[in-house]
């Protein structure tokens, strides 16, 4: 960059901080300027634009009058960047590209390349796409630091926003919105608004992303942005749906009212939205549903007790309940959401599966939740990190619903090669799943785990055994014995953990366990882990009446080593001394006093405090007063047993699958899942005035599930049962009967008649057929065919009916047997044939009383029909090919709503591609 000193330079420099309108003027000039520069390839010393360019450059390097000098300064420090600058300013594209590649290399390493900004920004309008892209990368990275220079590039983007190529429009908006310069907020706002109404769904998608960028840059724009979001939420393109919901979640997650009208559309589109969009839509809809529908859990509240028996008896239970209480009716919209998300459990994307699982967990009736189990277990085969998250969620779920995962218990068995955090999570789940029936299997597994080389894991296993022992009373003794055996283990951590767990267990089981305590006293000398030592001391004190001979001896040993013990051990020693003093003062008086004296001068104030407190409490003196009398009751009070419970106990306060759940901490931006409302808000808010056309813009993004009907007919030739998307069926279901009956109204378009049976071969019986192009009355998957039967013979034909069909599975709705057809007479009957969307002929036999004639109906391309709603007639105008192409037939009939038409369309895939 060779910025020359212009004569106006000093003038401009005197007021570098111009107010906004003036700057805008300058900006506009800069637009002209950059264009000029770019097209001519001349430097900035071009006379007309120099002043604005310099003005812009001035603010970043205000110390020197010439920016050129400033770069000279850098060159001594950054030799390498200097030659990059030269390359960027050369005329050769290849050199520029090479330079940009190196610059991107610098950025990727996190090195500062900001001083190249002026040289780079010049290339923003380059014709070379790759160069341009790399410049974009650079711009987005450094624009925030070099705001004024960045403004030079804005005009290029503004121009590109009007480009006929949708890709260029979209990428211009992407970069423009990524340039975090507050001054261009109004420009961005304008661009977003325009892009939101763009014809291309891809550009609209980009605008949805831009909304979030602008919001994070300037939250004051919220109101205007919400308007755009509202508009985009109405968008029917699957491409846009995911992105706009992300914008919604970021900008205005509380504006649940914006969702009402789009709820059903989102549910229906969901299967065809790209996988990442599915995740955000599902999680948003979960939140939505919790505010709009009543709880489906009410009638089976019994199941909340985590009681398996009632869980499995749920069927009988349910039959009884409605008689007692008002039966729960699930809102159809609630059901719609559950139904439409279920297929997504088969997604290859683990995040989608997890989000469906959490949706079912939070929204489905209790007895339906278990459909997600299998899929969740499947996720355990995925990467280590995925396992980690999924196991965390299963751990939370398994606390409340053991039954869900019990059949899959073996999937949680630990392998020695699993990472430690996976192992502990599996252990957690196994412990949660333990019950009377499976405890022996689980304990056998645990035995293996205790021997693990991974000591942290072995310790966790011991805790798990402890939990099983407290939860299932049948095995408490077995567990306790097992743990005692572990006390002779060679590994310190294992022993220590066992001691701690035994302590807890003994406390819950205050029976005759003096043997165990004695055993532990014997081990005491060999145990060095403070927590374990402290636990044994506490046990001695607590149950000193059971081991009257040993306890004083242990205290004696402790008196010897008191000064070298850890704090926690010291505290327990003081406790033990106090308790022994109260029960057996004869033997321990001196020892206790000795220990209390040691404690008095300990370095740790906790220990000094405790010593002082204990002394006042147990040793009678004048000062101690009344408290002294109660010392025994205070120290030797029966203590409630600790409850051993899962670490995942309280995690259910968070929505499953969220970051907050994973960390067990409320993450910033976490949206609380509300409780079910007692009374459902008005469900009619979700009603849409017109029949919501699910797939109106055929040309845009036909849904794939729908296109399985659209695509396959022309290309398949194997017989198969029909496949009609559920959304299609629901479209049909939505029609009232009156609509269907009006099917017979005359259809437009040419009617071509085909020969079914010639009267020569048919011994006088002639049959012709044509496709009336109407939705079939009998089944939505069938194509209606009208058959004209004529008796060309000279005798009466009787019992005309349809006989055997081939292929055997051919689904045909036969016409009623015609009892009698007079000579010369003809009769028109209609039948429905399910061609399974294939072009294969339907073969069947046309029978009379005496004869059988094999006939076949060949569906002509274009006669396989599928109902299709369209809101706007204009849609057709914009895609005339759909209309004119003789491969695509349109069938229309009047729908109940004036001005709206009901179409049946069959298009073949190539043509569809063309339209796209």
């Amino acid at each position: 960059m060779t910025l020359s000193e212009s004569s106006d330079d000093s003038v401009k420099k005197s007021n570098p901080r111009e107010d906004w309108p003036a700057r805008r003027g300058g900006l506009r000039q800069a637009e002209v300027d950059t264009c000029g520069v770019m097209s001519s390839g001349v430097g900035y010393n071009d006379q007309t634009g120099a002043e604005t360019a310099v003005e812009a450059g001035q603010e970043t390097t205000p110390t020197t009058s010439s920016s050129g000098a400033a770069f000279g300064l850098f060159s001594s420090d950054f030799k390498k960047n200097e030659d990059l600058k030269e390359m960027l300013e050369s005329n050769k594209e290849s050199l520029k590209l090479e330079a940009m590649k190196r610059v991107v290399g610098l950025i990727s390493k996190g090195k500062n390349a900001s001083e190249l900004f002026p040289a780079v920004v010049k290339n923003v309008a380059s014709k070379n796409i790759e160069l341009k892209k790399l410049v974009y990368v650079y711009l987005v990275r450094y624009a925030e630091e070099q705001q004024d220079l960045a403004l030079l590039s804005i005009s290029t983007f503004q121009r590109a926003l009007k480009d006929p190529n949708q890709f260029i429009r979209a990428s211009a908006l992407r970069v423009l919105s990524s340039i975090r310069v507050p001054i261009i907020v109004p420009i961005m706002m304008l661009a977003i608004k325009e892009a939101a109404t763009d014809l291309s769904p891809y550009v609209r998608k980009t605008s949805a992303h831009a909304i979030q960028k602008l919001y994070s840059l300037d939250p004051d724009q919220k109101e205007q942005l919400i308007e755009v979001i509202e508009k985009l939420l109405k968008d029917k393109s699957t491409l846009v749906a995911g992105s706009v919901v992300v914008a919604f979640e970021e900008v205005c997650p509380d504006r649940i009212d914006l969702i009402h009208k789009n709820y059903r559309k989102l549910c229906n589109l969901l299967v065809d939205v790209e996988e990442w969009g599915q995740v955000v839509i599902i999680s948003m809809l979960t939140r939505y549903a919790r505010t709009q529908f009543t709880s489906p859990w009410k009638e089976d509240a019994v199941f909340d007790e985590n009681n398996e028996k009632t869980f499995y008896d749920s069927d009988s239970e349910e039959k009884k309940v409605p008689t007692e209480a008002k039966p729960y009716m699930m809102d159809p919209d609630h059901r719609l959401l559950l139904r439409n998300t279920k297929p997504l459990l088969q997604s290859r994307n683990t995040a989608v599966v997890m989000s469906v699982a959490q949706l079912y967990w939070h929204l489905a009736p209790k007895h339906e939740v278990s459909v997600v189990t299998k899929s969740l277990v499947r996720l355990l085969r995925s990467h280590r990190e995925v396992q980690y998250i999924v196991l965390q969620n299963i751990a939370t779920m398994s606390i409340q619903r053991k039954g869900m995962f019990e059949p899959y218990m073996k999937s949680f068995y630990v392998r020695s090669t699993d990472p430690t955090h996976i192992k502990t999570l599996k252990l957690e789940i196994l412990t949660n799943l333990a019950n009377e029936a499976n405890i022996s299997t689980i304990l056998r597994e645990f035995q293996t785990y205790v021997k693990s080389q991974d000591k942290t894991f072995a310790a966790a296993t011991i805790q798990a055994i402890g939990r099983c022992a407290t939860n299932i009373s049948e095995v408490t003794d077995t567990c306790l014995n097992g743990l005692v055996l572990l006390l002779s283990n060679r590994d310190e951590t294992v022993v220590a953990e066992s001691v701690v767990v035994i302590k807890k267990l003994l406390q819950t089981q205050p029976t005759q366990h003096s043997e165990i305590i004695k055993h532990m006293a014997k081990l005491f000398d060999n145990i060095t882990v403070p927590m374990a030592r402290a636990s044994i001391l506490w046990l001695m004190g607590e149950y000193c009446d059971r081991v009257p001979k040993i306890a004083p001896d242990v205290l004696r040993k402790m008196a010897k080593t008191f000064t070298t013990e850890e704090d926690i051990v010291k505290l327990q020693t003081v406790n033990l001394a106090a308790k022994l003093y109260l029960t057996n003062s004869k033997q321990t008086k001196l020892l206790t006093q000795y220990i209390l004296n040691l404690g008095k001068y300990d370095q740790n104030y906790d220990i000094r405090d405790r010593t002082r407190f204990i002394r006042q409490l147990i040793v009678p003196s004048e000062k101690s007063g009344a408290l002294n009398k109660y010392a025994r009751r205070i120290l030797l009070a029966p203590k409630p047993a600790p409850v051993l419970e899962s670490a995942f106990k309280d995690r259910d306060r968070f929505q499953l699958g969220t970051l907050s759940h994973s960390l067990n901490v409320k993450a910033s931006g976490y949206q609380e899942l509300s409780d079910w409302p007692a009374v459902a808000p008005d469900p009619s808010v979700r009603n849409v005035e017109v029949i919501e056309p699910v797939r109106s813009r055929l040309s845009e993004t036909p849904m794939f599930s729908a296109s399985c009907c659209l695509v396959s007919p022309a290309v398949t030739n194997a017989p198969k049962p029909s496949v009609i998307s559920s959304s299609l069926l629901s479209d049909l279901e939505g029609l009232s009967l009156s609509n269907v009956s009006s099917v017979t109204s005359p259809s437009f378009g040419p009617v071509k008649t085909y020969e079914l049976l010639h009267h020569m071969t048919g011994k006088g019986l002639a049959a012709k057929y044509h496709f009336p192009r109407q939705p079939c009355l009998y089944q939505p998957s069938m194509v209606s065919v009208q058959v004209i039967l004529t008796n060309n013979s000279d005798h009466v034909l009787e019992e005309i009916h349809i006989g055997e069909r081939s292929p055997a599975g051919l689904n045909v709705h036969c016409f009623n047997t015609i009892e009698r057809l007079e000579p010369g007479a003809s009769v028109t009957v209609s039948m429905g044939v399910d061609f399974s969307d294939s072009t294969q002929a339907a073969n069947f036999q046309l029978c009379t009383k005496e004869d059988q004639f094999g006939v076949s109906i060949q569906p002509a391309v274009g006669e396989l029909l599928m109902p299709f709603t369209m809101t706007e007639f204009n849609d057709l105008k914009t895609h005339p090919r759909t209309f004119s192409d003789n491969r695509g037939h349109l069938f229309k009939k009047k729908n109940c709503i004036p001005g709206y038409f009901f179409y049946q369309i069959f298009v073949n895939p190539e043509q569809m591609k063309k339209d796209v």
């Binding site: 290849s94 590209l97 991107v104 990727s108 390493k109 996190g110 070379n128 790759e130 892209k133 790399l134 990368v137 190529n165 890709f167 919105s177 291309s200 980009t206 960028k213 994070s216 491409l239 996988e275 990442w276 999680s283 088969q346 997604s347 995040a351 899929s375 277990v377 499947r378 990467h383 280590r384 990190e385 995925v386 998250i389 073996k410 068995y413 020695s416 955090h421 693990s452 699958g657 969220t658 970051l659 960390l663 910033s668 949206q671 993004t701 849904m703 794939f704 599930s705 695509v711 396959s712 398949t716 194997a718 198969k720 049962p721 496949v723 009609i724 895939p909 190539e910 591609k913 796209v916």
Partner: protein, 418 residues
């Protein structure tokens, strides 16, 4: 959503960073390094970490940490899945996913990352779509590009982005049209000391390599689809047809992709192809131990077991091993204490055996635990579950493609406890 991405190598150097929102200083990684230090083994680093201002979600694969910094609530799986997708894309583009290859192709990597996320939200993650926008590197093109100044970047919107089959690019042309399917099954099993199966299941995937011109519509059907218990599909598979007819009907992406993965219903007994006789003992005195492992065929359905390998993670106290194998080679890594016995083909007539003594650290107590054996094996031309593809039909195109199905059984997480 995802704010920034840092790629960190094994030794803790950040060798690539990319920001999609404002720049987050790389010092945020220090929290991660702290956790990594604590975890010792990279596998043990918790995937989700919390720092004062950010949340760090990381994955570890191919000796690289993909670390993403996040500022607000987001489903962690969303990020993890995406990061793995990034890794997969690198693998797809460069044939491997390693630090060197990423550094060598840093520009393409950057271009890819730019396209994959917009403002932290995934934009294009389909390989077919990406390849239309950014061409994978190859030597010929890079030579041509330097001469002509051409670029690796396409200038049109990938057709897939907008069509109803976003995973397939338009205008595919091949002179040889071929479609290959690999049915690969893995046996996950835990056997206990006595050889009884504690847990076993079969997991399969169907990997496809489809190079077909135009817009083919394929239907793959199985002889025994009932075997499949739980399935997940590539988005191209029409779920409704699977539900109603148990056939896979799809318009395939171009090139390699995973068509489906499945689990064979757990009711069926899983055939365990080999048995292992082992005896590992540590003597109380003399600081030594004995090891004796024999492997023999069990249920191999008449096929040969190949690529047999046994990996044993020895206790820390085992210093060296002195073993002799009747077949194959064995190595013992002194640092990681991993014994690998590479057997190769299993000969039923002459069973491979590995025996000898283990020398222990003198004075160290006898190890409490016995190491478990991890078995690796391969059986060609066999799907152990018995799954069979019955036919592949193609509609929508006129030509006759070349079709092929291959079966392979492997040991997945196959562990023998001792």
């Amino acid at each position: 959503m995802i704010d920034s991405l840092f790629l960190i190598n094994h030794s803790g150097d950040i060798f690539l960073e990319k920001h999609w929102k404002s720049v987050i200083s790389r010092s945020v990684c220090d929290y991660f390094f702290e956790a990594k230090e604590k975890a010792v083994d990279p596998e043990n680093v918790a995937p989700v970490l919390q720092t004062p201002h950010h949340y760090l979600i990381s994955i570890y694969r191919d000796k690289i940490f993909f670390l993403s910094a996040i500022q607000t609530e987001v489903p962690p799986l969303f990020v993890i899945e995406f990061l793995h997708r990034v890794g997969d894309t690198f693998l797809d583009y460069f044939g491997e996913c390693s630090e060197t290859v990423i550094k060598d192709n840093v520009v393409i990597v950057y271009e890819l990352l730019e396209e994959m996320l917009d403002n932290g939200f995934p934009l294009a993650t389909e390989s077919n779509v990406l390849k239309e926008m950014i061409k994978p590197p190859n030597i010929l093109r890079s030579v041509v590009n330097t001469l002509t100044g051409g670029s690796n970047v396409g200038n049109t919107l990938p057709t897939g982005q907008l069509s109803n089959v976003p995973w397939r690019r338009a205008g595919v042309k091949y002179t040889n049209n071929e479609a290959y399917f690999d049915v690969i099954e893995e046996i996950d099993a835990i056997l206990d000391k006595s050889g009884t199966t504690v847990f076993a299941e079969i997991q399969g995937v169907i990997e496809a390599c489809v190079r077909l011109t135009g817009m083919p519509d394929l239907t793959l059907s199985f002889m025994n689809p009932r075997l499949l218990d739980d399935v997940s599909f590539h988005p191209c598979v029409r779920f409704k047809r699977w539900e109603s007819e148990r056939v896979l009907s799809f318009i395939p992406p171009d090139g390699n992709f995973t068509l489906m993965s499945y689990q064979v219903s757990s009711q069926n007994l899983v055939a365990i192809p080999v048995y292992v006789k082992q005896n590992i003992s540590f003597l109380e005195a003399g600081s030594c131990g004995r090891l004796d492992i024999t492997i023999g065929p069990k249920q191999t359905m008449g096929k040969t077991v190949e690529g047999l390998m046994v990996t044993v993670h020895m206790p820390k106290a085992v210093l060296t091993v002195n073993l002799t194998a009747t077949q194959g080679t064995h190595t013992y890594d002194l640092a990681t204490k991993v014994l690998v016995w590479d057997i190769g083909k299993l000969n039923p007539q002459k069973l491979p055996n590995l025996r000898g003594s283990l020398s222990m650290q003198p004075g160290a107590p006898k190890p409490e635990e016995y190491p478990s054996l991890n078995i690796d094996l391969k059986i060609q031309q066999l799907a152990i579950s018995g799954l069979k593809v019955s036919r592949l039909d193609m509609y929508g195109e006129k030509y006759k493609p070349f079709k092929g199905v291959k079966y392979l059984t492997k040991a997945g997480k196959f562990q023998v406890r001792t």
